[in-house]
């Protein structure tokens, strides 16, 4: 007990180097535990997002990609499957229920998801919990929307608010369909899953978003819209050029670079004011010199405005153009007037789980359309396996950082020994044997490592508490704050043990010095 008291007082006496040492160990431990916590938390968060779904079905492509866009709202879907194909599988005898999803659109950075009442009935998360409404009612009408909890909070929307939906997944979509306003009819209860960050409309509403100019297409089925939904819109669509780069990715060939402007020549709608806004953000030279389109350079760069003589200086006219096209009657439509032609993916619950593999095989072999079914757990595992290298790498880095922190402690203790030879001689003189000298130094090292480990643990939880809402807002991932698990405790134990063992290095040195010095400090 005396030696422990001495160790503590000695450490306190060297408060500055002690706190630096503890601090560096704490930071390294925080990194180690933090990496572990985030790793486990992410896995938990991901696997909590989907529950009781046996298969996720979409068009052929990457299994992880299908999982990411249909469950986690990450990445963009590629192709859709036809409504007929969906119905065929939904009516399959082995299938108990399905949830169809239409994806690919957004509203102010939040994903808009088309689905139907099956979503409310069958979707399960975190051990079988069901979607619940916090207020209002589920969307039923063509222009009804239900908001995820975070969407309502972050955009400050209330029941009855009208919102517009952007085609494509851009964060800053311009208001493309403001002639088709959706009305908020319900807000979902918080789930701590990506559901909180999505906006739900009916499949029919989703279909309506993609009408070329705000009105249902003439009865012909071969309308260009079918492709437009999943892919980037074709060039003959007057509105698409208005979109930001996010909405019209470079690989679709009609981005806003100058070469592409030529394509606008024949296009009456091309230069409405929104496009100008978009160009302004692009840093196009016509706003650098301030006098917009009278500028020659600008006129050259944008051959179209000069040629078609369209009055794009006139903002009112430009803005009015889409609405004036004579399609402003969308509000009058009801859900019965709309025919759903496709879905992006759908979740499947089987009557008997033994049928899952057979059903998966059948879907994968479906001949009418290229389709693919994945088992969520299997796809998740595949994803974790893909990430395992990165995780191991991160963990290794963290372990090395901890070693560096402990080595820093070793250096600090070791270099202090020379100044402490006098102290050791005094302790010897009052009867401390070499064992006590060793114990003293090992205890000091042990104290430093333990204090560092504890401080690191505290730091991790403080940081997690701060980071949790940020990560949720940025990535839609809810990292649960859990009490330290066995792995964390193992790490902490290892750090303390390593500190204890490392303490023997300065201790043995002090022991030898003390034996050699005797009662005089002999250099």
């Amino acid at each position: 007990m005396l030696v422990f008291d001495l160790a503590l007082k000695s450490l306190r006496n060297r408060a500055f180097s002690t706190s630096l040492t503890v601090g560096s160990i704490a930071l390294s431990v925080a990194l180690l535990i933090g990496v572990e916590n985030v790793r486990v938390g992410m896995r938990e968060s991901f696997s909590n997002t989907i529950s009781q779904t046996d298969l996720i079905v979409g068009t052929k492509g990457g299994t992880i990609q299908l999982l990411l866009y249909s469950v986690f709202g990450m990445g963009a879907p590629t192709e859709n499957v036809s409504w007929e194909a969906y119905r065929e599988w939904a009516d399959h005898p082995a299938v108990e229920w399905t949830i169809p999803y239409g994806l690919g659109d957004s509203h102010r950075g939040f994903r808009v998801i088309g689905t139907n009442e099956d979503f409310y009935r069958h979707y399960r998360y975190r051990g079988g919990q069901q979607i619940a409404l916090a207020e209002g009612r589920a969307n039923e009408g063509l222009f009804d929307v239900t908001l995820g909890a975070d969407v309502a909070t972050e955009l400050s929307y209330a029941l009855g608010d009208e919102i517009a939906v952007t085609h494509g997944l851009g964060e800053v979509g311009f208001i493309n369909h403001d002639h088709m306003p959706f009305t908020v009819t319900g807000v979902l209860a918080k789930t701590f899953t990506p559901v909180d960050r999505a906006i739900y409309v009916t499949l029919e509403g989703m279909e309506a978003i993609h009408w070329e100019d705000g009105a249902p297409p003439a009865s012909d089925d071969g309308h260009a819209h079918d492709e437009a939904e999943a892919e980037s819109p074709p060039a003959d669509d007057g509105h698409v050029h208005d979109d930001e780069a996010e909405a019209a990715p470079a690989d679709d060939g009609h981005a806003h670079d100058d070469e592409a402007e030529a394509a606008h020549d024949d296009d009456d709608h091309a230069h409405d004011d929104e496009e100008e806004a978009a160009h302004d953000e692009d840093g196009h030279d016509h706003d650098d010199d301030g006098d917009a389109h009278d500028d020659e350079a600008a006129a050259e760069a944008q051959a179209a405005p000069a040629d078609d003589g369209h009055a794009h200086d006139d903002e009112a006219e430009a803005q009015a153009a889409p609405a004036d096209d004579g399609h402003a009657h969308a509000e009058d439509l009801s859900i019965e007037d709309v025919e759903v032609t496709q879905v992006t993916s759908f979740f499947v619950g089987t009557t008997n789980r033994r049928d899952v593999l057979q059903l998966q095989r059948e879907i994968n072999d479906f001949e009418d359309e290229p389709m693919m079914a994945v088992i969520p757990g299997v796809a998740l595992n595949e994803m974790w396996q893909g990430l395992a290298y990165a995780e191991t790498g991160l963990r290794l880095v963290a372990i090395f950082v901890v070693l560096v922190g402990l080595l820093g402690m070793l250096v600090s203790l070791y270099t202090s020994l020379n100044e402490r030879r006098r102290e050791m001689a005094i302790l010897r003189a009052v009867g401390a044997g070499p064992n006590r000298i060793i114990t003293l130094l090992v205890l000091e090292s042990l104290c430093l490592a333990s204090a560092g480990a504890l401080a690191g643990l505290t730091l991790v939880y403080a940081l997690l508490a701060i980071a949790q809402p940020l990560v949720e807002a940025q990535a839609g991932l809810f990292i649960p704050i859990r009490p330290p698990g066995s792995i964390e405790l193992l790490f902490l134990g290892a750090v303390v043990l390593a500190g204890f063992l490392m303490g023997f290095v300065p201790a043995l040195k002090a022991y030898r010095t003390a034996l050699h010095d005797g009662l005089a400090v002999r250099v």
């Binding site: 005396l2 102290e423 003189a429 009867g431 009662l519």
Partner: protein, 227 residues
């Protein structure tokens, strides 16, 4: 058993080096106030190390307070020192991170026998009492780094005396004090040694203090290793 120190044919050297100590015979009666005199390099501090059982004689017999140190293990010698010997250094006597009180109390906390000899008085009380005797009672709460050298030496004396060890070994404790303070310090040290019935071995290279002691030992005369 009346001898405090009884050395026969003692030979000591560091490692394989030249002999530092070669003492055919040296004895000291209990209760003596001995002045051990010798110039620098005559092996004074080494002899003290041997007496305290920190250094082990290569040859000969070392009996301290009747105990044959050669027959004791290292740990036993440490325990023996803790129990029976009070040690005062020339300077830098104190552990910087302990208070004055804790420095004085250290041997009593280190060794149960020393603690037992406090006669039921607590460690704190005894330390305070000793500090009062050596006129540093008002410094107990101070950090040792704020003390003057003279004050530090008195604290060291208190530490050596606590728990009434039979042998007090002082290695030039006054060399950093001016003359008046030396005398005052010695008076107090004698007084406390007498009170405890302790033998005092006082080492110095300064013969001016010689007259205050009951016996003088000239190390160059007894140590054949010094030529």
């Amino acid at each position: 058993m009346s001898l405090a120190i009884d050395l026969r044919r003692l030979r000591f050297r560091y490692g394989g080096g030249p002999w530092v100590l070669d003492i055919p015979e040296l004895t000291l009666e209990r209760g003596t106030r001995a002045f051990l005199f010798g110039p620098s390099g005559s092996g004074k501090t080494t002899l003290l190390g041997v007496l305290a059982g920190v250094l082990e004689a290569e040859e000969g017999e070392v009996r301290v307070l009747g105990e044959d140190l050669a027959s004791l293990s290292g740990a036993q010698r440490d325990a023996f020192r803790a129990e029976h010997i009070g040690y005062v250094f020339q300077m830098f006597n104190l552990i910087p991170y302990l208070s004055v009180l804790d420095n004085i109390a250290l041997p009593a906390r280190m060794n149960a026998e020393r603690r037992a000899r406090l006669d039921g008085t607590g460690v704190r009380e005894t330390a305070t009492q000793l500090a009062d005797h050596l006129q540093i009672g008002d410094l107990l709460k101070k950090p040792v780094t704020e003390l003057s050298v003279g004050q530090q030496q008195r604290v060291a004396a208190c530490r050596a005396l606590i728990g009434s060890p039979e042998l007090i070994v002082a290695d030039e404790p006054t060399s950093s004090l001016d003359f008046d303070r030396r005398e005052a310090f010695l008076e107090l040290l004698f007084q406390e040694c007498e009170r405890a019935g302790a033998t005092l071995v006082f080492v110095s290279h300064d013969r001016t203090l010689e007259g205050m002691f009951s016996r003088t030992i000239s190390l160059p005369d007894v140590n054949k290793a010094v030529l």
